[in-house]
Symmetry: C2
Subunit: 204 residues, 2 copies
Amino acid sequence: MTMSLSADLWPDVQPEAARRLMLAGVESFARRGYHATTTRDIASGAGMSPAALYVHFPSKAALLFEISRNGHQQALALVREAAEEADSPVEGVRLIVERFVTWHARRHTVARVVQYELQALPEKEFEVVADLRRGIERIMRDLVVRGMESGDFTVADPGTAARAVLSLGIDVARWYSERARKAPAVLGEEYGELALRMLGAKVD
Amino acid sequence: MTMSLSADLWPDVQPEAARRLMLAGVESFARRGYHATTTRDIASGAGMSPAALYVHFPSKAALLFEISRNGHQQALALVREAAEEADSPVEGVRLIVERFVTWHARRHTVARVVQYELQALPEKEFEVVADLRRGIERIMRDLVVRGMESGDFTVADPGTAARAVLSLGIDVARWYSERARKAPAVLGEEYGELALRMLGAKVD
């Protein structure tokens, strides 16, 4: 179960032992926070010795960075693909929000670490992740601006509106759990509508 | 400086030493997380001995509970007052979002602890706080339903919409900092408009 989940979460990470450590890291960080988690906790969560952990990650910070960088790369990739697939700003915002919300609901434990443990990253690593975040924000902001130019959106401040649209998705990671009444994709569709309304699109 | 800020944050808490400990707790929890903070860290942040901390709070959990309960009571009070002041669902949602967002921006460090350290509360204390949260959600949901009945709002699912409106405000605590370009009250006004649009209100 753990092995297949880790492969599902991080298909590009090799070997399997590294993925298992990342999964154990996510679980510990989400439960107790980054600072209160020891490398021993993580290693034992992955059924490994602390020495075996260091074969794959030189430090706890390196493990957090790998989780965070991977999560942000996945989010950026899905946002970029949705923007490229869409043939209008309205369609672009709808697709991005649907997939971004679905991802944050389905991957809520990973997403919680990715979104809320940023300040624990060392400065250089933080900058790498901040750059990925700016990429996501830029795509959304550009779409909002293009939609204003085409007359599809009416927005007072495209920066504020783009941030608010992404906020809706990010906050899903905070409250979503397996006990939520809604399936991730259903929630994504509803939020897609809500986001377009925020931007003043005529969708009704 | 510390003393006046603590009085400003918790006007109802007495004595001043308890407020100072709550402020030191907020700063430590926000920086390192609840689990990695010791009572010694908090006491020394407040310029007190660990023994002096126990005069006011029997445990670190009791201190977190007091911070969380107080923050949620403040949020519930401002939401309730806004709902009572307003003479329509449109006005109610606008006022709540304006004040809720302004509070989360202005009090972003406290709000971050209040919103993101819930799972660290012991079960009984969690239930007290969860009850206050349900109070906030109920007021927003009732307003959305009333607005649907009066024809002011058109919403597919009032529960989802009410949650999304509150999400916008909560997520402000995650990203807002003193370096943000917008003053809290200005952001509050912009978000008030965005929230009403989400609900399908005619505000333009």
